[in-house]
Amino acid sequence: MGTAGSEPRGPRGVRVTQEDVRRLCEFLYRRTGMLFDDNKRYYIDRRLVERIDATKSGSFPAYFALLRSDADHEIEQLINAFTVNETYFNREEHQLRCMTSDLLGNVIRGKRPGESIRIWSIPCSSGEEPYSIAIWLMENWRLVDSYNIEIVGSDIDTRALKAAGEGVYGARALMRLSRDVIGRYFQPVADGEHRIDPGLRESIQFTRANLIDSSEMARYRGFDIVFCRNVLIYFDDSSRRIAAENLYDCLAAGGYICLGHSETMSRISPLFRVCRFSDAIVYQRPESDHDGR
């Protein structure tokens, strides 16, 4: 791990020690459930030094006092600095295929045409995933106009949510989309970037949500399908369990949750039923609670 000599310094020469980082990580863990261990130390040091510089705190103790008082929403700023937001359209396409080939068929079994189908992307980062879901449905689900499809994108990072609302993407984010799809759902803007169609923007609701805050999560209920990819890996066992239980409560009975390809719910919580479809393994809240907990 980093020695004093290799610890990063900001432009103002601010230096952080291992003890400073430990206190910060403990604070972040209490507030967000995100656990940063030693192998992410360099990453943490850099972000921390950046925040100390940005707030002109001058030292870790001064910064930490500012953080705890939450002056100028520094907690939010720090969380924003610590979350990784790089993603792209149609990432994990097999799950989108699974949604239209298997999940939705089961979801509509208990619904009449015209009723709502609720889909949640959490964390939604800068919007690539919820927009991908909407485009995928229009391109691949012949019943797309028969139900009232509500897509919600949520993230803890308000900077990412702002970007999602603006909906401007570079070539890297769009690399998996065909030219035809880009031409139909985006408008070119400066520097080779593309802005999402206003109609598509309007069809997604973006909100801030913290997966381990049960009272905040109580606002979200009745989702038929939840995409929750590559976030549980940031949590330790107990936060992961809290997040899983919160997600369980957010799902409608019989609703599904899709995790990232390296994640598995089975080791986190016994509440969910494992469903193996040809395109993906997903987890289901049982139709009746007696089947689960």
Binding site: M138, R142, L143, V144, D145, S146, R184, L200, S203
Partner: protein, 135 residues
């Protein structure tokens, strides 16, 4: 070239799509624009009425279930209007497939009635026929 593009009328007919779902409006608009139509949108009957009184259209595509003013109420209001807009062709799209719903749509003044799901190809075909677009 897709089926939607093959059905493209050569002239720019103007269509008003009335649906409370942004996703459905986009799904219909995408098909119609690719087929060469010019598309305006409204989120309910009230907004649709304001638009037809302010701009010329060749066809209204109208969902039935909408908040504030539903598709049937919009059509009744439209047909009672004292100006030319009263004769605007209207294609009603609904989730209800019953005999009675068809009668209600006819009585409200619908020229044609489609039950969801409506494919983009079918939408364009009926839009072309009802708007009088040359084929």
């Amino acid at each position: 070239m897709t089926d939607v593009e093959q059905a493209a009328p050569p002239s720019r007919r103007r269509i008003l799509v009335v649906d409370d779902s942004a996703l459905v409006r986009l799904y219909y608009r995408d098909a119609l624009e690719r087929a060469g139509f010019e598309v305006e949108q409204a989120i309910n009957g009230i907004e649709a009425m304001e638009k037809v009184l302010a701009q010329p259209f060749d066809l209204a595509i109208v969902d039935v279930n909408m908040p504030r003013m539903d598709g049937f109420s919009f059509l009744r209001t439209l047909r009672r209007n004292a100006t030319d807009v009263a004769t605007l062709p209207a294609l009603v799209i609904t989730t209800e497939a019953g005999e009675q719903d068809l009668d209600t749509a006819r009585a409200a003044g619908a020229n044609f009635y489609l039950v969801k799901p409506v494919s983009q190809q079918d939408l364009v075909r009926h839009a072309a026929a009802l708007s009088g677009a040359p084929t």
